[in-house]
Structures are given as structure tokens and as C-alpha cells.
Amino acid sequence: MSLKVSRALERIVVETCEKAFPDEGCGLLIGPVPGAFDAPGREVAVDEARPLPNGWDASAKTNRYLIDPRELARIEAELSGSGRGVVGFFHSHPNAPAWPSPFDLMMAWPCLSYWIVRVDGGKTADSRSWQRTEDGRSFVEEAIFLEG
């Protein structure tokens, strides 16, 4: 199980998260949809990282993020039929471990990669990617392969 991503795209993810500090930053990971997306060992190759505004209300942006469903629907429609799709999301945990929180688990969708960046005081300290199990009870960490 793994997430393949170029160093240039990793920069976009990291910078988005660092710029958002002390709020959480977030965005989409886009790439070819794997043949067996739900397979526990599947590989995802990201070819685009698209930062999006954190839509959570101002009261809790430091520990919550929200992606506007209409925006997501629009992007899914744009990608429709191309073989590419939204294969995951990234978000940051300011001053907190890059492990999924109980709230992350409650809201998580299957198949997708959930890339979490730990940002301590504005600097990236850790970066891990996760996939929810089909039964929805936990996350499994996946390797991030940086290329190029």
C-alpha cells in the first residue's frame, strides 16, 4: 500500500500546510484511479495536488478542516471519464501528531489516501499517509514514495 508523489507535489502539500499554520491546511490529491482501489495493497500515484480553502468555521480551524462538497463535486465532474479522479486528501495537524484523530476516522471514506502533515510552529515535522479499512474501524499507514 503506497502513495507515489513527486517532490514538486510534496512541496505544494507542505507549503500549503505551513502557510495555513496555525490553522489546518487541506487539499485534494488527484491521479489515475487504481484498478482495484479498494484492495488493501493498492498503489496510488498522485499527479496533481490541489490546495483548497479550509471551509470550517473560524472557531475551530486550528484543529478542523472541511472541504466544500460543491467544490469537490465540481472537480469530480471535471475529471469524470478521464480515468483520473480524486484519490485522496491532504491536511495538516498543527502542533499535533501526523496520526489520524478519532474525528478523522469518523469522517473518513474508504479507498482514499489521507495524507497528514504535522506542522510544529509553522515548520513541517512529520508527514504520513493513511488508508481507512473497509470496515471503517481503523486506519492503516501506507508508505509515501517521493520521486523525482
Binding site: 472541504i67 469530480e76 484523530s101 469518523m106 479507498c111 479499512t133 481503523s138
Partner: protein, 473 residues
């Protein structure tokens, strides 16, 4: 009305990769029902167990959120598009949750004042997870110490109930819990010891089908199993998931300890490429075990587990420690990684868990065709006064605890020397405690030309099903 349902990328894998599914429906609820009728796996993803749409699922009809209209009753007409859109949200645990609470700071004081642990280390323990395979002799002290140390999430796999004969060593259980599930008993005890942790129980037999998925949910696996098939399964699943295995095993007065499948370290197969022939190494139930021995070894497994989580000291990787309680000695052997190891070597041939019962030769028994009878059949033979010798191959001290009237005792180890005492013209029915040693005796006797039959389940089955006045031990 014919409407199109559009699925997000994440859900297409559950609907044969389709992004658009056309259904006949009058409203949104019907459209979803029609969708679930075609694609059953989608239902579990979108609906909660009580049949309501999960909170993170948005349904749009054309441009409008169905929640803003009439929810599932929102009508649809020909050509409408029903859009399922994930609400993507999440976020860090509130800092206060992952930090140590005041109560935890008090509880873990003796850790916090150790520079090697300190608040950072204690937080690592709090945010870590360990899976204990087995809630028995080794699992008892192991889980107790991990809970006391503040390991945040402890999983236990077991499917047994507490038996009175467990209590001589399985100190996580108590007399009141006899006859109840080991998992429930262990969970109760651990949470009573430390309410700040979470205990996850997995009431199942660890198998090739579930091990990998289960291991992925934990940081460290601690093997406290008592049989070879499960031991090899735990090893292989640890290697396959990249989880270190804090391993311990016990027999009579001796114990073994190591950390297998750590990064760049050897695995159990590097040490023991092949299991011993079936029956050669008796289980604790057959061979006995000093009650405090699992206390020593299980506690050492807890030490290694905590070191692995904290990243301190020198983990027991590449070293096998052998403990002898009678000599009161420890010996350390070096274990090298085997480049030809089929699971962790340079060219592994095992990419998924295999059939471990077969690997350990336990499925060959029927093929050898040892004739076997049940204790009921034995009882019938005795009642009919059939002519045969009932041979007991256990040890004399076991014979003293419990015996079947009229049996002749020749311990398995003495059988080759004393085989002359038996008459080839008379049929032999052979039993032991549980049927393992007697099966080997039958094999030996048949090779010598005797007409020997094994009693399945041994004297334990006899006392359970035929004569409760015979004690089980």
C-alpha cells in the same frame, strides 16, 4: 422515473468501477435503495447500522442538497442526476487530548522523572498501540504491565474461556471469572488497573485470513501463543506488515525471548526455518509449566515492547535469550538474518500468510490413518467386556492424579524398552491426557506389529463426557 446516480471516485470500487448508475425511482430514498440492491457493499459505506445516511454523506439532486429539500423523500423526475458527494473533513485531536492529563501526570510520575522516558516518552506510550496475541500465561503479565505503563491502546486476540487450571499462571484472570470469556475477564482487569487506556478485544482465532488486517492496526505485536502454527502465522504476518514481534515462549521450566521481524533484524523463521515434527514438543497442557515462568517471560516481553515504543536502549533484535528457571540462568545466543529466509530474506517466496496447520504437519494425521475411537466407543467396549488392553502412556505422576480403571501404565518414553511386556495377540487401546502422546505410541506400536488404536481426546474427554469423578488436570 429514470435517474442517474453519480458516485465519487472513492465509492466506485464498491460498484464495479462505474461512475454512473441508472435506476428507476420516484424519490431519493428509492434511488438509493435501488442502488444498494445492485451494489450491496455500498450500503455499509453510506448507511449507519440503523439505516440512516451517515453524517459525512451528502446527496445532491442536480444542484441542490437533498437535506435542504425533503431529504430522502425529495422527489426525482426523469433525467435528474443524484450526486453522492463525500463531506471531507477531519482534523487533529485537540491538543488537550493527546497531551497528558493531570491525572496521568500523577499516575505516571515515576516514568516522567526518568530522563529516558519523560513526558515525551509517556506521550509516545499514550499514543501507541500493542496487540497481545493470546490472553494466557504470557499475555497476562504482558498486558497488565503495558496497561500499567500507559500504552494507550491494547488489543487482545483470544477465543477461549477461563478454566480453573489456567489460574496457576494466568494472573490477569481470577477465580470469579472461571467459565467466562478470557477477553472480557482481561478487559475488566486492565481497565480496573488503568482507566486511561483503551482495550480492544478480538474474540476470534487468529488465522491466515485475518492476521494481516489485524496487525496493521497496531504498532507492536507481542506473541504469547502456545502452538507452532500460530507462532509461524504471527511471524509471517509481522514480517508482511512490517511490525516488530516481541516474542516469548515457555515450556516446563524454560523460556525463550527475542524481538523478531524488526527492521533489518531476523525473524522466527531465520531461527527455525522448519517447525518440529508434530507431537515432538508437547504443549504446556501436556508437558506442564511452572506457573511463575510465564510471569518472567511475559514481563520481559513487556520490557521489550516498551523499549520498542520509546525507542530507548538496545532492543533484543538478533539475539535469543534462553531462560532456565531451575538453573536460574540466562543465556544469550546470536540470531542472524537468513538471506534465504522464505519470508524476510532477499528473495521472499511467501507474500501472504499460508496454511500453517499443513506447514506444521498437523493435517497429515488423518493421512497416516491411525485408527482412533472416541471415549464413548471406549466406554462401550469396556461395558461389553471386549478383550483388549487399555494402555496409558502418561507419566506416573499423572496416573496418580487421574486414571481409567483397569488400564496399564507404560509412559511413552519407556515404551520402546518395555514393549516386550505387551502381547501382540491382544488388541491395544491407547490413551494419554489429550490424545497427542497416545497417537505417537499407536504409531510406534503399529510399526512393531501391534493392533493398536488411539483414544481421541484422552482422559480429559473421558472425565468430561463419561466419568466426571475422574479429575481433569
Amino acid at each position: 422515473m429514470s435517474v442517474d446516480i453519480r458516485l465519487p471516485t472513492a465509492l466506485r470500487a464498491f460498484a464495479d468501477k462505474q461512475e454512473k448508475i441508472t435506476v428507476e425511482a420516484k424519490n431519493v430514498g428509492e434511488a438509493l435503495d435501488a442502488l444498494f440492491a445492485k451494489h450491496d457493499r455500498l450500503k455499509a459505506q453510506l448507511l449507519s447500522p440503523d439505516g440512516k445516511l451517515r453524517s459525512f454523506v451528502n446527496v445532491y439532486v442536480n444542484e441542490d442538497d437533498a437535506r435542504d429539500k425533503q431529504g430522502l423523500a425529495t422527489p426525482v423526475k426523469d433525467g435528474d442526476v443524484v450526486l453522492i458527494v463525500p463531506a471531507i473533513a477531519g482534523g487533529a485531536t485537540l491538543a488537550a487530548e493527546s497531551e497528558l492529563t493531570k491525572a496521568e501526570l500523577i499516575r505516571y510520575n515515576r516514568h516522567l522523572i526518568l530522563p529516558e522516558v519523560g513526558p515525551e516518552g509517556q506521550k509516545k506510550l499514550k499514543n501507541s498501540s500493542v496487540l497481545c496475541v493470546g490472553a494466557g500465561g504470557l499475555g497476562s503479565p504482558l498486558a497488565l504491565y503495558l496497561a500499567a505503563a500507559g500504552v494507550g491502546r491494547i488489543g487482545i486476540v483470544d477465543f477461549d474461556v477461563v478454566d480453573e487450571s489456567n489460574l496457576q499462571r494466568q494472573i490477569i484472570h481470577d477465580t470469579l471469572s472461571v467459565g467466562t470469556s478470557k477477553l472480557e475477564s482481561a478487559k475488566k482487569r486492565l481497565l480496573a488497573l488503568n482507566p486511561h487506556i483503551a482495550v480492544e478485544t478480538h474474540e476470534t482465532k487468529l488465522s491466515s485470513a485475518n492476521a494481516v488486517e489485524l496487525f496493521q492496526r497496531y504498532d507492536v505485536i507481542a506473541d504469547g501463543t502456545d502452538n507452532f502454527p500460530t507462532r509461524y502465522l504471527v511471524n509471517d504476518a509481522c514480517v508482511l506488515t512490517g511490525k516488530p514481534n516481541a516474542y516469548g515462549s515457555i515450556f516446563r521450566f524454560e523460556g525463550q525471548l527475542s524481538v523478531f521481524a524488526a527492521k533489518d533484524g531476523p525473524c522466527y523463521r531465520c531461527l527455525y526455518p522448519e517447525p518440529p515434527p508434530p507431537g515432538l514438543v508437547p504443549s504446556c497442557a501436556e508437558g506442564g509449566v511452572l506457573g511463575v515462568l510465564p510471569g518472567v517471560i511475559g514481563t520481559m516481553q513487556a520490557v521489550e515492547t516498551i523499549k520498542l515504543i520509546l525507542g530507548i536502549g538496545k532492543p533484543l533484535v538478533g539475539r535469543l535469550m534462553l531462560y532456565d528457571a531451575l538453573e536460574q540462568s540466562w543465556r544469550t545466543l546470536k540470531v542472524k538474518k537468513n538471506p534465504a529466509c522464505p519470508v524476510c530474506g532477499d528473495h521472499p517466496t511467501i507474500a501472504a500468510p499460508i496454511d500453517y496447520e499443513a506447514f506444521c504437519g498437523l493435517k497429515e494425521k488423518p493421512a497416516n490413518m491411525i485408527p482412533e475411537i472416541t471415549v464413548e466407543e471406549l466406554k462401550a467396549k469396556l461395558d461389553k467386556k471386549e478383550k483388549f488392553v487399555l494402555l496409558d502412556v502418561r507419566e506416573p505422576h499423572e496416573y496418580e492424579i487421574a486414571k481409567i480403571a483397569g488400564s496399564k501404565l507404560i509412559p511413552l518414553g519407556d515404551l520402546p524398552q518395555r514393549v516386550g511386556e505387551l502381547d501382540k495377540a491382544v488388541k491395544l487401546v491407547v490413551h494419554c491426557k489429550m490424545g497427542g502422546r497416545s497417537a505417537r505410541a499407536v504409531q510406534f506400536l503399529r510399526a512393531q506389529g501391534f493392533d493398536a488404536t488411539n483414544v481421541a481426546g484422552g482422559i480429559n474427554d473421558w472425565s468430561e463426557r463419561i466419568d466426571p469423578s475422574v479429575p481433569t488436570y
